[in-house]
Amino acid sequence: MAKVTGAASPLSGPAEAVILQIRVPRILAATAVGAALAASGAAYQSLFRNPLVSPDILGVSAGAAFGAVVGIFLSLPVLAIEVASFAGGLAAVIIVYTIATAIRGRDAVLVLVLAGVVIGALFGAGVGLLKYLADPYNQLPAITFWLLGSLAAANLRDLTSLLPAVAIGLVLLALLRWRIDVMTLGDEEATALGVSTRSLRIVVIAAATLMTSAAVAVSGIIGWVGLVVPHLARLLIGPAFTKLLPVSVLFGAGYLLAVDTVARTLGSVELPLGVLTAALGTPLFLWLLAFSRRPAWS
C-alpha cells in the first residue's frame, strides 16, 4: 500500500522484500494458476461434452509437462520453456482428439478418455526418458520437484508470462461463452443452429491449452483442479457457461490459494502442491460422484 501511495513504508526493508518479491508473486501465481486450470477444465468439459474430462485426462498436462521438461533438459530460458510447454500441450490435445475422431463406431467419450490416458502415458514415458538422461545433480532434482507441482519458486518474472497468457485465454472463453454452450449439443446440432463448429473448437482448445500450458510451465503439474472445481461449479450453478466460467475461475483461484497456503504452512517442510491437490481432489471427486443428487449430466 505504501509503495502505491508513496508514503513511508512501515515495514522494515527485509519484510518489504519478502512481501513484494516472494509472497505477492506467489499469491498472484496461485490465483492465476487455479483460475487457469479451472477455466480450461470447464471449457474442455463443455467442448468435449463430458463433465469428466479435464486437462489432465486429455493428456494436455502430460504434454505440457513433457514440453517443459524438454526445456529444462536443454537449459532453455523461462520463456522458451513456456513455449515448449504450450507446444507439448497442444500436440497432446491434437493427437488425442484426432485418435478419438478416427476411431468411430464406439463410445466416443470412452475412446476420447482412453486416448487421453494412452497419450498421457506416452508423454509420461518421454518425461521418464529425459529424467533418466538428465544430469543427476542439477537437472534431475529441478525436473523432479517441478513435476510434483509447486509454487515455491514463483517469482515476478514468471508472472509476466503467466498473467498475460491466462488473461488472453479467459477473455477468449468469456467472449465465446454463449457458443460454448451450443457446442455441448454436439457438432451436427450446433452446426444446424448456425455455429461454425470447426473454427470455434480450434479457438476454444487453443485458449484452454494456452492457459493450461502457461500454468504448467510456472507451477508444474497440479492435478485435479481442472476436473473437480468446474465439476463442483456445475453442480452448484448448472451448465450455462456464462455463469460456469466466472464461478469456476473464482473457485479455482480460491481453492489453489488456500491449498498453497496449507502446503506452505502445514509442516516444517513445504509440501508439494500437486501432491496436496491430488490428496484433496480424489476424495472430493469420489464424494461428488457418489452423493450428488443433481447430476451434472445424464
Binding site: 463443455s46 461434452r49 463433465p51 467472449l175 465465446l176 461463452r177 454463449w178 457458443r179 454452450d181 451450443v182 455441448t184 449439443l185 454436439g186 451436427e188 446440432e189 450446433a190 452446426t191 444446424a192 443452429l193 448456425g194 455455429v195 461454425s196 463448429t197 470455434l200 448448472g238 451448465p239 450455462a240 456464462t242 443433481r294 447430476p295 451434472a296 449430466w297 445424464s298
Partner: protein, 265 residues
C-alpha cells in the same frame, strides 16, 4: 409469431456417406407453407436426405434450392436462418433448463462473441408459449419426458425463426398421447406461423393427420409423391414396407387408417 415460408426444391439429388450412396436422383419441391411428409422403411435414408438438404452432409450430386437459389456454399449461419432442424435425438446431455435450450435457437441471430439480447429472450419465450410448454421453462431439460423434449426442440426450432422446418421422425419413441400432441403442434405451427415443413415418420397414417403431400422413398429412389389420399394406398405400402395393408376411410373419409391385412383375417 408469423414467419416467412420459403420454397424448397431438390434437383437430381444423390446423397450418402463416403463410399456408400444411399439415395439417387431425388427431385421434388415443397411450396412455401406446404407440409411434406416422407415415408420409407428403416435405413431407406430419410435422415440422410434431410441432413443433406440441411447441408450437414455434402451431396454426391445434384442441388438443393431455397426460393430458387442454390444453397451450395452457404455458411452455417445462413443455413440456420433458413432451416430449423429438429433431430431425432437432440439437446445433448447437459442439464440446461428448457428455456436455456430453446434460447440456443437464437444462436444464428447473434454474432460469435455476443450473448442473447432481451429480444432473443422474448422470441424464445414466445416459441415456448406457442408450444404450450411455458410451465416447463425452468425445468431441467434432461429431466422432462420424451414428448416434452420433442416439444422443447420444436420450440427451439421456432425460436430460430426459420423459413423451413425440418423434423426427423418427430414422433419416434413417443407414447400415443405425445404423438398426437406433437403432430397437432406441427400442424398448428405450419398453419399459424406459415412455415414450410419437411418431416419423416414411420406411421403412414400420420400423413393424413398433418401433411399436404407425401413422398415415399423406396430402393434409394423417390417412388411416389402427391396428396396423402393418392399416395398412401395398399400398393404403395406393399412396395414400401413389404406388408399387406388395408387403407380404410373413417369419419366420412376425413381420415384414413392403415390396418395390416393379417389383423383382419
Amino acid at each position: 409469431m408469423v414467419l416467412t415460408a420459403a420454397r424448397l426444391a431438390t434437383e437430381d439429388l444423390s446423397y450418402g456417406y463416403p463410399g456408400h450412396v444411399v439415395g439417387r436422383h431425388i427431385s421434388f419441391s415443397i411450396d412455401a407453407g406446404e407440409v411434406l411428409c416422407v415415408l420409407g422403411r428403416n435405413g431407406e435414408g430419410k435422415s440422410t436426405l434431410f441432413r443433406t438438404i440441411l447441408g450437414l452432409l455434402p451431396a454426391y450430386a445434384g442441388a438443393v434450392r431455397v426460393d430458387g437459389g442454390l444453397t451450395t456454399g452457404w455458411s452455417a449461419r445462413r443455413r440456420a436462418l433458413t432451416f430449423g432442424y429438429v433431430p431425432q435425438t437432440g439437446g445433448g446431455g447437459f442439464p440446461f433448463t428448457v428455456a436455456e435450450l430453446v434460447l440456443m435457437g437464437r444462436t444464428a441471430h447473434r454474432g460469435p462473441f455476443s450473448a442473447p439480447s432481451i429480444a432473443d429472450r422474448r422470441a424464445a419465450d414466445q416459441a415456448i408459449a406457442t408450444m404450450g410448454i411455458s410451465h416447463l421453462a425452468q425445468r431441467e431439460w434432461v429431466r422432462v419426458s420424451g414428448g416434452e423434449r420433442q416439444l422443447a426442440l420444436l420450440a427451439r426450432a421456432l425460436a430460430q425463426e426459420p423459413r423451413i422446418l425440418v423434423l426427423d421422425e418427430p414422433t419416434a419413441s413417443l407414447d400415443f398421447g405425445n404423438q398426437v400432441r406433437v403432430l397437432d403442434a406441427i400442424r398448428s405451427v405450419a398453419e399459424t406461423c406459415g412455415l414450410t415443413v419437411l418431416l419423416s415418420t414411420h406411421h403412414p397414417e400420420q400423413a393424413f393427420a398433418c401433411a399436404d403431400r407425401v413422398a415415399v422413398l423406396a430402393g434409394g429412389e423417390l417412388l411416389h409423391i402427391g396428396p396423402p389420399a393418392e399416395v398412401i394406398t395398399s400398393e404403395t405400402l406393399r412396395t414400401c414396407y413389404a406388408v399387406e395393408v388395408a387403407v380404410l376411410p373413417v369419419a366420412d373419409d376425413r381420415y384414413r387408417v392403415c390396418v395390416p391385412q393379417s389383423y383382419l383375417s
